[in-house]
Symmetry: C2
Subunit: 202 residues, 2 copies
Amino acid sequence: MYKGLLFVVSGPSGAGKGTICRRLSEKLDIHLSVSMTTRAPRPGETEGESYYFTTEEAFKEELAKDGFLEYAQVYGNYYGTPKDKVKEQLDMGKDVVLEIDIQGAMQIRKNYPAGKFIFILPPSMAELRKRITGRGSETEESINLRMREALKEVAYIDKYDYCVVNGELDEAVNRVEAIITAEHSRVSENIYELIQQYKDEV
Amino acid sequence: MYKGLLFVVSGPSGAGKGTICRRLSEKLDIHLSVSMTTRAPRPGETEGESYYFTTEEAFKEELAKDGFLEYAQVYGNYYGTPKDKVKEQLDMGKDVVLEIDIQGAMQIRKNYPAGKFIFILPPSMAELRKRITGRGSETEESINLRMREALKEVAYIDKYDYCVVNGELDEAVNRVEAIITAEHSRVSENIYELIQQYKDEV
């Protein structure tokens, strides 16, 4: 049976990777990876959809068993991508799309090098600043800090397979969709099935 | 300026690579590569569109100058893909799509490894036989010979980057289009431009 592919959609915060992933999941038969976290659920968040909510003890147990594709500790809370949940979908032949920051993507690259790594770029740094500012919740100082962070992050682009500039959303979504289609057309992804098929016929 | 990419569309005869390429050229702003030949023009063939028609002397002169991406001699006539014509289009930033048999593709792979190699497959060997038979012009013996040839050719698939099964034509054309879009989204194809852009902004 066909095995699914893992697409890691990453990039600086403000580039729009979350929106692109949501759009993809509406258009295509893919599974959006869900993180596990020790943080308490917020109003409106649902178990297994927003996050898998768990205790710190259970999280650390999973961590000890090498159970995460990547994990991070932020403000005292743990976040991680459970390996078994992703593997389950891939084994069923379903593609998994995983939205993650650059640090997380670098961990996944080490743990699952067969993943396809897509870097989402803002159309320009000026536009990124506008988007961060537009959220309205940040001071000038914190905006400058995030811009410097974003610049440092863009330097990781050469660790990725693909890059997509998110200027016009539909266009960016179509490009990621084309990347998914193309990766399924790789000879390396199909050679086993093809040999089987033609052997049966001869 | 952006440099075009060379897409080599290849596969056994009867797989439908010619039809796919014509459809692509109607949909996309690409250049379909035109071969040079020493064979005489047939009624309806036009210079520079069907072929570049030339003399054997001129062809051999080009050959001596290593002027072809690939060439072959068939029934006493020479056929070849002029390097300079392809290069001219790529330099203008235009993608070139080149339809060619497997032997030709293997030569191009050596002469232009940056090319993207796409193998067009019939949905099954039974369907391929039907297509070859459907042309009506061949004897049982020559059909069997071509089927054996096609099987030998499919074995070259691991020298290609992508494979596309041509069962439903529109679907196959869309897949090749997705491959073209995806290859333009490769980090390796964009890294130089990106560095320039972000350097200018900082």
